[in-house]
Amino acid sequence: MDFATVLQLLDSTLRLSTPLLLACLAGLFSERAGIFDIGLEGKMLASAFFSAAVAAATGSALLGLAAGMFASMALAALHGLASITFRGNQLISGVAINFLASGLTALIGQNWFKLGGRTPALSGDARFLPIDFYFSETLSSIPFIGPIYSELLSGHTLMVYVALAAVPATWWILFRTRFGLQLRAVGENPEAVDTAGLSVTALRYQATLICGLLCGLAGAYLATGMAAGFIRDMTAGKGFIALAALIFAKWRPGYALLACLLFGLLEAVAIRFQNIDVVGVGTVPVQFMQALPYILTVVILAGFIGKAIPPRAGGEPYAKERA
């Protein structure tokens, strides 16, 4: 493998990791506050559709992004209604939201565009375009560092940089601010939050909505950044890989970046090489590469490599009055 190939591989790793990372951080906010969310997939999908649809209609990627975030946050609010206000089962709510998004996007997509569930192909300002760093042309001739700067780091869409910046921002919010302290507390022991005079409901809704917002970014990136339009079920399990990455990362922002980069790399390798010949092992089929994130997550969950301990109050609806 030559340097250029490695660079291309890493470049696509970065692109493929971005939706995972945004969705993973989304899940991190929600689950740190004690709301399990297996509906990341559905929220991303809803956002992908509505961002592409609105971008197609208005020709503005930004308006598309706003629509996508709104759709995703609406589903997040529904999840909040079910799991916070009505104390329903968070897992079941997540399942329902995934189906709702999958069904609604296909139904409405066919109804609006009559393209078999697709949106029209987006071009120009209806997409997020690559941002070229300053001097990337000039510097590309410098050996080694030049190509890294101009090909790997430069030339991605806005959302890639937003996702990367979201990692330290998430860390800072969670561990250095008042809101973060309260959010983590409500995921560990909501009674402590309640008796401290804070509103469990408000905190959990805030976390859920942040989750919706970040899933919205992820979905919009899929449809208007990485691809040029929406196709049916285009998230294709990315929401679940993000969930896997979240567990893999043990609910920590820094590890989340590493986990998403790893899973992105696996995807990039699978796309580029299909079946890989590994010396001494034989041919590794592409399906194995695709399944590897899930397998790794199961291994982590089984506690064979360190133990993944979720927030203690996760999944439990908070009921104050005894029945």
Partner: protein
């Protein structure tokens, strides 16, 4: 502050807390009925009552955790609405709950500041809290490491964090709900010293407990609650434990149950070097040895949390243990493949667990299903190798409910819909009716009404008189003294002393429970 000072305050200032005609019910259960209470500032006011008398509910209303159905609250003379904890904190009320409300993986500082932060970022608040902790450490003996993670602290220290939380919020009124239930006697004494110095600083303290000793030792005034009502408010110096006990239960307490002298036979349970590891790897039971003979009740006394629960769980086959345990001379498997509760039942042990609601019953099962719980492999309940004989289960249950005076006699009623006493009778009926060689029973009358208590005590003694062995674990010293033939006292995971019931008294046992071993007696 001396007695005169308190009196003066009482005459001039408005009550720190005044409750008028508070009522609260949960569904059909009335927890508080028309309660009025007035507490003078700068005093320690005790509230006593049995479990379920409504003390915790009343205080939860004062702290905004529940909303009263009716009634008014006045704080320092001003009418105050307390719809939530936030309002309670704003009114200067702090509460130390029976079950601490701490975030287990946060540091002490983070727990103290939670919900009382100053600005966007944490740093300034944490600094302020650190300073307060250093100041208070000396002033009130409230020292605790600010950087320690809460789950690594002892129970006593965790309680101090709760007090510090309240003080950080500038609470003037401090409510403590059963604060000594999990403390060792020295820790409890330490707590009372802290409370006294807080009182002397002018804080008002409400101490909820069901332990009369603590009321007498720590409070200035005391109120008694019974079945959701406030039955009396007295000056502590003008009352006696006997009077308070009578007010609590509504009539003279029967301290001794009539019982025949014991006729002990051969050893049924022989425990030798029993050892159990606690949740965090510490040793919860250290090398326990004792014997229970046929036809006797061995009472195990002690402050809650000194290893009694672990003893019951180990003997009942719920958690693994090391050492040797023989039943009728046969060693039982303590940690291997055959160490489950099913094997214990086969070897002749019946177990009435401490917590009937989470262990002894499946609350959503009907009475007939619960009556077979743990014995569902019994041939009497089986039609074939696989199928249950439901008709047999139902009819046997009907008989047992009558025999044990369970109301209502409805085998199809779900366990949750029986009262606490009747639930306990169902467990007891199931375990005793099988005529076990050994009954191990924990807190048999916790949360049970007076009438049922006598009934339950009678059944336990009947079993003894039928020549069976009984191991009774209770934190109620009265119960231990009235039922047991011999008494073992547990302290810090060990049996610190064993006495004949006829040769000891509350005072000696109290010293033992506090970890002060008297002269060694066999």
């Amino acid at each position: 502050m001396n007695a005169n000072g308190s009196d003066l305050r009482r005459n001039t200032a408005a009550p720190a807390i005044e409750l008028r005609n508070i009522s609260k019910s949960f569904g059909a259960v009335i927890a508080n009925r028309d309660i009025s209470l007035s507490v003078a500032p700068g005093t320690i006011h005790g509230i006593v009552g049995e479990n379920g008398a409504g003390k915790s509910t009343l205080m939860s209303i004062l702290y905004g955790f529940y909303r009263a159905d009716a009634g008014e609250i006045f704080i320092n003379g001003a009418p105050t609405k307390i719809p939530d904890s936030k309002a309670a904190i704003a009114a200067g009320i702090g509460m130390v709950h029976q079950h601490f409300k701490l975030v287990h993986n946060f540091t002490v500082l983070e727990n103290v500041v939670l919900g009382a932060e100053d600005g966007l970022t944490l740093r300034p608040t944490l600094a302020r809290a650190r300073k307060l902790l250093t100041d208070l450490a000396d002033e009130y003996e409230l020292n605790v490491d600010p950087n320690a993670v809460v789950e690594d602290l002892s129970v006593g220290h965790q309680q101090r964090v709760e007090i510090l939380k309240a003080l950080f919020r500038r609470a003037d009124i401090l409510i403590l709900d059963e604060p000594t239930g999990v403390l060792t006697p020295p820790e409890a004494d330490h707590l009372f010293r802290i409370l006294a110095s807080l009182r002397d600083e002018g804080k008002t303290i409400i101490l909820i407990t069901h332990k009369l000793r603590e009321i007498m030792a720590a409070t200035d005034t005391v109120s008694v609650m019974r079945r959701g009502e406030m039955t009396a408010t007295l000056k502590t110096s003008e009352t006696s434990p006997e009077q308070l006990a009578e007010l609590m239960v509504g009539r003279k307490v029967l301290l001794r149950v009539d019982k025949k002298p014991a006729a002990p036979g051969p050893a049924v349970l022989e425990v030798d070097g029993l050892q159990v590891d606690g949740e965090r790897g510490e040793t919860a039971l250290k090398n326990i040895s004792f014997t229970v003979r046929a036809g006797e009740v061995l009472g195990v006394a002690g402050v809650a949390g000194n290893g009694q629960s672990e003893l019951l769980r180990a003997l009942g086959g719920i958690s693994p243990a090391k050492g040797t345990v023989r039943v009728n001379g046969k060693a039982i498997d303590l940690a291997g493949a055959d160490s489950g509760a099913d094997a214990r039942r086969r070897s002749g042990i019946a177990h009435v667990p401490e917590d009937r609601q989470s262990l002894g019953l499946v609350m959503e099962f009907k009475a007939w299903e619960n009556m077979a719980f743990g014995y569902h492999d019994d041939p009497a309940f089986s039609r074939t190798k696989w199928l249950l004989d439901i008709e047999a289960m139902r009819s046997l249950t009907g008989v047992a409910l009558n025999k044990y005076d369970v109301r209502p006699v409805d085998p199809n009623l779900v366990a949750r819909n029986f009262s606490g006493g009747n639930q306990q009778k169902i467990v007891l009926a199931r375990e005793i009716d099988r005529n076990p060689d050994l009954l191990i029973v924990g807190q048999p009358t916790r949360g049970v009404d007076i009438g049922a208590i006598e009934f339950i005590h009678q059944r336990v003694l009947e079993l003894r008189d039928a020549g069976k062995a009984v191991l009774l674990v209770s934190v109620e010293l009265d119960e231990i003294l009235s039922l047991s033939d011999r008494i073992a006292v547990m302290f810090a995971g060990e049996i610190i002393g064993t006495r004949d019931a006829s040769e000891t008294d509350e005072k000696e046992l109290g010293l033992l429970m506090a970890g002060i071993a008297g002269e060694a007696r066999p």
